[in-house]
Symmetry: C2
Subunit: 249 residues, 2 copies
């Protein structure tokens, strides 16, 4: 990875490709995860492969929501683990959140491969393997969580979440931060804070905002959260996508 | 596959998913092919997952171009083989075209798996394994073709083609029919006939038009080809995509 110079015009795209391929080799990334990655690439292409100002506003609100939470949890699936393992670990440290592995196609082998990958990137604790609680309204495998992780969370960051699960987490009153490149996906619509951005750019950006807001008191954090307008963010992202450049470079 | 009823509202999507997963199991579909499938899904979603009237016009022009050709060849990669093997064989029969396997990431193992898959679906001859000719301007592996296949073709149907290769085939004077869901991809821009449609709908549709045009003489075929306006088709598809529905069902 160090062979790709950071100032290469396609650096982000090359790193993404490389990490996804490594994820396939190590069993972290599933075939469905690869298809989802492609769907995201198409929307990111239309967005101009950049963090828009509305996505940056959302990342700041997400940082405030995580810092203000009693028990924040970052939910990690195969693509998230493959693409941004160190950024997830860093964010969890800054906002003092739990990390929990939560897969759409859950197998013990993939759960362990992903937990190991996160430990390799500096995670202190990775939850999701106890699987002693259940989110109502989902198939058993898909609703399985840890009782002292997502089960007890008041705020959950779910990057690249499936629509059914985002709706089920919303239904049990958890506040969700969703990172999704389609502003009108069911996940983005269920979110308290939808971040319409590539996970590779969004996760470090939340961390940056969290570091800046670290000393803010609860009144200041609440102000940031209350001023955030999710509908406006989704609407602005939709306009960006509709105006977006289709021609490839 | 026979377990999915054809009148299921998500029939096409379920069949696609099923065939792609089978393609992974049999080694036909590559990780990059899965990502490309996802990119296509996003654009198809915006197009409304239907064949637009401009895509139908393009399919008719493609049928005329294939019937009019001296030596038409259908180029098949991993996703095409996984998704529409029988439709490719049927089209090749109706327009009397060669079938040639041509991969972006060429390995002997995948070449053979794909050829076998096409033979299993009724193909009489599958080219691409002699690899005794070269398209100029491409890396050796990517430019490799059969001398009596794509090497000798005047018209090539390249569904889901990579932009570099579409440009290189165009540069040596071959007329290309491209099936691509992005109307402004480099492949779609290089095409004499760009069909902005899902390969699952487009290939059988070309065959249907070819059957209807089978008795037409060269004057009639030339009229269909000359009346076709590639720029207008790309423009109309772009407008459809920009207006498309983002909200999921």
């Amino acid at each position: 990875e160090t062979e790709i110079p950071q100032d290469h015009p396609r650096y982000q795209s090359l790193i993404t490709r490389h990490r996804i391929e490594e994820g396939v080799d190590t069993g972290i990334t599933s075939p469905q995860g690869l298809i989802a990655e492609g769907r995201g690439e198409a929307f990111d292409y239309l967005l101009g492969e950049k963090t828009t100002s509305s996505a940056d506003d959302a990342a700041r609100a997400a940082a405030a929501l995580l810092l203000h939470a009693e028990h924040p949890v970052i939910s990690v699936n195969g693509n998230v683990a493959a693409l941004v393992p160190e950024a997830i670990v860093e964010l969890a440290e800054v906002v003092e959140a739990d990390i929990e592995v939560n897969l759409f196609n859950r197998t013990e082998k993939r759960m362990n491969a992903i937990a190991d990958h996160l430990y390799d990137h500096g995670a202190q604790t990775v939850k999701g393997l106890k699987a002693d609680d259940q989110i109502p309204g989902l198939d058993h495998e898909r609703g399985t969580v840890d009782a002292d992780g997502i089960g007890a969370a008041d705020v959950v960051l779910v990057p690249l979440e499936d629509g059914d699960r985002a709706a089920a987490l919303d239904a049990v009153g958890k506040r969700e931060i969703v990172i999704d490149l389609n502003p009108l996906s069911r996940s983005a619509l269920a979110a308290t804070v939808p971040i319409i951005d590539n996970v590779i750019r969004a996760v470090p950006n939340i961390t940056e905002h969290a570091s800046a807001l670290k000393q803010a008191d609860n009144v200041a954090l609440t102000t940031v959260i209350n001023r955030f307008d999710a509908d406006e963010v989704r609407e602005r992202a939709e306009q960006e996508i509709r105006r977006g450049e289709l021609r490839s470079s």
